[in-house]
Amino acid sequence: MSNFEEAHVLVVDDSSVDRRLIERLLRVSSCKVTVVDSGLKALQLLGVDGLKVDLIITDYSMPGMTGYELLKKIKKSSKFKEISVVIMSSENVLQRIDRCLEEGAKDFILKPVKLADVKKLKNYMKKPSTTRFNYFCCIYYYIFFLFFLSFFLFFCVFVCLSQ
């Protein structure tokens, strides 16, 4: 699989079991994965280290900075607000879900996370390959256009010369 097909996902979860599980689920779904155990480390990677990601998946309940607080910080940042954020939680609290979606989260996943949940996430990821695919498509259309234009011109010249 060529690298530019892989979306890069940043996983934020204080549970080592969940980090390992979600990392594996994402790798099986052909994603590149970076895992951290706190919101602070996530912001550090994005800001200071300049990590480029297509999606952030964060746990809601974490010590220190919660997933909700991380979401707010990302959505308030001019640099990162375009990155899709998905929240995970083991608690199905409607208020919590609404709050996150209102703050700009793309989706809310109930733990334990399954492969079906991860497959849905592909819809929220910027697809780096799409841009390049579109670019190549344009080149091909251009080449075909030139080819047919040349053919048409030759045809016109031929017709003129034969008269």
Binding site: D14, S15, S16, V17, D18, R20, L21, R24, L25, V28, S61, S90, E91, K111, P112, V113, K114, L115
Partner: protein, 150 residues
Amino acid sequence: MERTHMRRQVGLMRQSLFTQGFLDEQFIQLEELQDDANPNFVEEIATLYYCDSSKSLQTIEQALEKTPHDFNKLDNHMHQFKGSSSSIGAKKVKDECQQFREYCKAGNREGCMRTFQLLKKEHATLKKKLEAYFQMARQAGPLETASRPK
């Protein structure tokens, strides 16, 4: 053949973990993530769980010894513990965690202490069963494709 017999034993052992309620569907999810490149993923994540959860249990035990009980703190610890138990499909452990949290919400000290003992027992029982299962599976050779228990 010896290996066929062992594989059948492993299959039966696995089946009983589900039928006796020790494991739920989430465990099958873990098995489905195993492949030739990651042949020991289930065992790896179970080991990680037991390493983490032993520390969590110690923390909760210490918190239970303090009086008066800080039910909020206990509930928070248990929430984390329940989460990772749920992620590996440890059904009975998860159920005891839920019960503990309900006693916390009700401020029921006796209930918390009693449930915690049950929880530790379930946690230890599952550990023994999983260790035996993984050992036998290793001896029998590559695992069969994960299938939902009937």
